[in-house]
């Protein structure tokens, strides 16, 4: 099986398996609540502290003082938290939220929910190259803008957005909106420097554990607590005093330990991984581009994209059919979006890029895991070529294929 769907969920790292096993063998036979004062609780708290430190370090925040790493249930919660956490309780006249049109549903739907509360929702369209210009974000903002969301890396196309520059522009224009960033896909797949983001004026960054080889069900919200941050964060979840009251609820220790272990691995070997992964991605594209006619790359060129992501379309081949055909051939891929019935549908991202309905329906996303190698890219490319060729043979007009047999 060729797993080319890491942006959906990435392969568990061996260090994560080890760390979680070890944690369970020490704590698994009894409840371990990091808030408890007894020995089990203290050991849980130590594990929590260690994971938090590993995460901050991998996110480029080691030694960066005014920051909180708040663990939560995943990227979606972190995105919801960072939007609702910075919104006032009620919308003043003109109050608005600015997001890019290519954000993940976790941001899009949270912003849409805020719009129902009376906040005007403004969407910044990407340029034709798939990137969002910082100036375009600035142009959408005004003094009544409450929250600005700009993702660091797009989950579907892999486009890398210049969040730091966007934040500098906004702050340079003396805008006091909260600037928040969904970095769930960028973390681990780029050299994510959250210290730079926060120095530039970003107030919060959302991360997810299962996108970097840890367990699902864990995420983190990195909150800038610098004095220049003029926004008040109000937690969505209230209750016990966990996470310094930024996020109530007993911490998911096994999940958090997995996240910490993945962060440690990223810090240790991330640079090497990234260079292997992008070499594999480039090889994959080189082969597909050479051997498939009428193929269009949607993922922006290096250095403006995640090294692991390759979104493309092959003319005349439906993306959802290709994903099914690839699955039957042993290649895991995606169209970038699925509805509740399980149907693969064209992602809103492709439409936001200006692709026609038909072209959007042809788009497919391949996203490589942290441990992919060149051989897999070469062999996977062959499978993809076979599928596309077969599908093009049968996509002739029906009348041409259905000659009566008797």
């Amino acid at each position: 099986m060729f797993r080319f769907d890491a942006n959906a969920s990435s392969r568990l790292r061996p260090q994560v398996r080890e760390a979680v096993s070890e944690y369970l063998s020490v704590h698994g036979d009894c409840g371990a609540n990091a808030s408890s004062i007894h020995g089990h609780g203290r050991r849980a708290r130590a594990a929590l502290r260690e994971a938090r430190a590993s995460l901050l370090e991998a996110a480029g925040l080691a030694g960066f003082r005014p920051v909180k790493a708040v663990f939560c249930s995943g990227g979606t919660e972190a995105c919801n938290q960072m939007i609702f956490g910075f919104l006032p309780r009620s919308a003043a006249p003109g109050a608005n939220i600015v997001t890019t049109a290519i954000e993940h549903q976790a941001v899009q739907e949270a912003a849409a929910a805020a719009a129902e509360l009376g906040f005007e929702l403004r969407r910044v369209l990407p340029q034709s190259n798939g990137l969002v210009a910082p100036e375009d974000v600035l142009a959408m903002c005004d003094s009544a803008t409450e929250v600005v969301c700009v993702m660091a890396a797009n989950n579907v196309t892999g486009a890398l957005l210049d969040v730091a520059e966007t934040a500098r522009l906004l702050r340079g224009a003396s805008l006091s909106a909260a600037i928040v960033c969904d970095a769930t896909q960028a973390f681990g797949k780029t050299e994510l420097d959250c210290a730079e983001l926060m120095k530039a004026g970003v107030d919060a960054v959302a991360l997810s554990a299962h996108k970097v080889g840890a367990l699902p069900g864990v995420g983190a919200l990195l909150l800038s607590t610098s004095e220049s941050s003029c926004r008040v964060f109000r937690p969505m979840l209230v209750g016990g005093p966990q996470e310094e009251r930024f996020r109530a609820g007993t911490e998911n220790l096994p999940g958090i330990v997995s996240f910490g272990a993945a962060a440690k691995a990223i810090k240790a070997q991330g640079a090497e991984e990234r260079s292997n992964v992008s070499a594999a991605r480039d090889k994959l594209w080189q082969i597909l581009n050479e051997r498939i006619d009428d193929i269009e790359r949607i993922t922006p060129d290096v250095p403006h994209s995640l090294g692991n992501t390759l979104a493309f379309r092959a003319g005349g081949v439906r993306g959802d059919d290709l994903v099914a055909a690839l699955d039957l051939s042993g290649v895991a891929a995606s169209t970038g979006s699925a509805c509740s019935s399980g149907r693969q549908e064209a992602s809103h991202v492709f439409r936001a890029l200006g692709l026609s309905e038909e072209a959007a329906r042809e788009a497919v996303r391949l996203s490589l895991d942290w441990d992919v190698n060149l051989d897999q890219a070469v062999a996977g490319a062959e499978k993809i070529i076979q599928c596309v060729k077969r599908m093009r043979e049968v996509s002739l007009p029906l009348a041409d294929q259905l000659q009566p047999t008797a």
Binding site: V317, R318, D320, D321, A324, A325, D327, L328, C339, S340, S341, G342, R343, Q344, E345, R390, M391, V394, S395, L398, Q401, L402, Q403, P404, T405, A406
Partner: protein, 378 residues
């Protein structure tokens, strides 16, 4: 009797609605050694059409869950495919348009003809599968001249051949009806033996994309329709109505007009918005014409034939004489159907399906073909 050519191929896509018959079809093919891939066709997005997904009879997420459960349990791949565009174009639009023009269309015919046995087959082929299986109660048999014949399902009470008359030889060669040779109780038993709870599910018989009254659905898609007058056959105004799309020729109930004898819809004139009603005998006619005719053999009979003609699903049929006619382009795509002894109400827009007057030695009845009842010829 030899097996149809299609059955020598050992892989098939099964169109799975999540219902009893399609689930059983998938399992039967697995038992017979087929490589199976299940596909559910999402044809209509209820969320976008003010419909109530909970009330819909198919394509609702719960049905897909049932299909998915069966696929997971038996370990075959299963996908939900988006057919919304082709379904809207091939089925919903003509359906609504026909009603607005005062006809009574049958959307299942168009769905089978244009979506299930064409678009699904094309998409199955793109996955590398040449054969599509469905849970229809109908049978495909090889005839003496080696062509393929379409026959009624073994279970006469479930027979669905009426909806399949538009199949061509190419369609038949690439299609399997695994439950067609079984009785419904046998199908339920079969599933129960396999430990599947779908056997207890209710039958789905309504139009799959309509969750309430058809008339309401038509208005939801095409907008509010203007009403008109109800007249007697002598031209006297006897009432008013909310739109011609709420009537079918031959309809008796729900006319909102009282009379000494039961009244029936005789004619629907969409241009003037007039619905004409009258007594039962006034529905009688000696012949009618059908268009869009398909002869399953691929060849129209050169001389008139006698056949049993069913004018709606579950109609027991009447003996008729059928004469193949050519259309403006010279294609033999029309036919004149003349009643021989008995007659029945003829509803324009419905299908007239031609059957052999006699069953074959196995008790199955062959479908010769059929067409859509023409309004202009009446």
């Amino acid at each position: 009797m030899a097996l149809p050519a299609a059955q020598t191929q050992k892989s098939a896509v099964v169109a799975m609605s999540g219902g009893v018959d399609s689930c059983a079809s998938a399992l039967m093919l697995i038992d017979q050694g087929y490589d199976v891939v299940g596909i559910s066709m999402q044809v209509w997005d209820y969320r976008n059409n003010n419909g109530n997904a909970a009330k819909a009879t198919c394509c609702a997420p719960a049905d897909f869950d049932d299909a998915r459960k069966v696929a997971e349990y038996y370990g075959f791949p299963y996908y939900v495919f988006d057919f919304e565009d082709s379904f809207e174009e091939a089925v919903i639009k003509p359906f609504v348009d026909s009603y607005v023009r005062g006809l009574t269309p049958n959307p299942c015919l168009e769905c089978n003809r244009k979506v299930k046995f064409r678009e699904l087959r094309r998409r199955a082929a793109s996955l590398g599968f040449d054969v599509v299986a469905t849970g229809h109660y109908a049978q495909i048999k090889q005839l003496d001249d080696l062509s393929l014949g379409l026959f009624t399902g073994k279970d006469q009470s479930k027979d669905q051949s009426y909806f399949l008359y538009a199949m061509t030889q190419a369609d038949l060669a690439a299609t399997l009806f695994p439950v067609g040779s079984m009785l419904k109780p046998q199908v339920r038993n079969y599933l129960e033996q396999h430990g599947l709870s779908v056997a207890a599910k209710a039958e789905s018989q309504d139009i799959c994309f309509v969750s309430g009254a058809v008339g309401d659905f038509v208005e939801r898609v095409s907008g509010k329709q203007s009403g008109g007058e109800i007249k007697s056959s002598s031209g006297e105004v006897v009432g008013t109505h909310d739109g011609v799309h709420r009537f079918t020729v031959g309809q008796r109930k729900g006319l909102g007009v009282s009379a000494r004898n039961p009244l029936y819809v005789l004619n629907i004139d969409a241009d003037t918005g007039t619905v004409t009603v009258g007594e039962h005998e006034e529905l009688q006619r000696s012949f009618f014409e059908v268009s869009d005719v398909n002869w399953v053999s691929g060849v129209a009979p050169s001389a008139p034939i006698e056949a049993l003609v069913k004018l709606r699903y579950r109609h027991s049929g009447v003996q008729c004489r059928i004469e193949a006619l050519s259309d403006d382009t010279g294609e033999m795509s029309r036919a004149r159907v003349s009643f021989l002894e008995d007659w029945t109400a003829v509803s324009p827009g419905q299908a007239a399906v031609f059957y052999n007057s006699e069953a074959d030695p196995e008790g199955d009845v062959q479908v010769y073909g059929g067409g859509i009842i023409d309004k202009e010829s009446m």
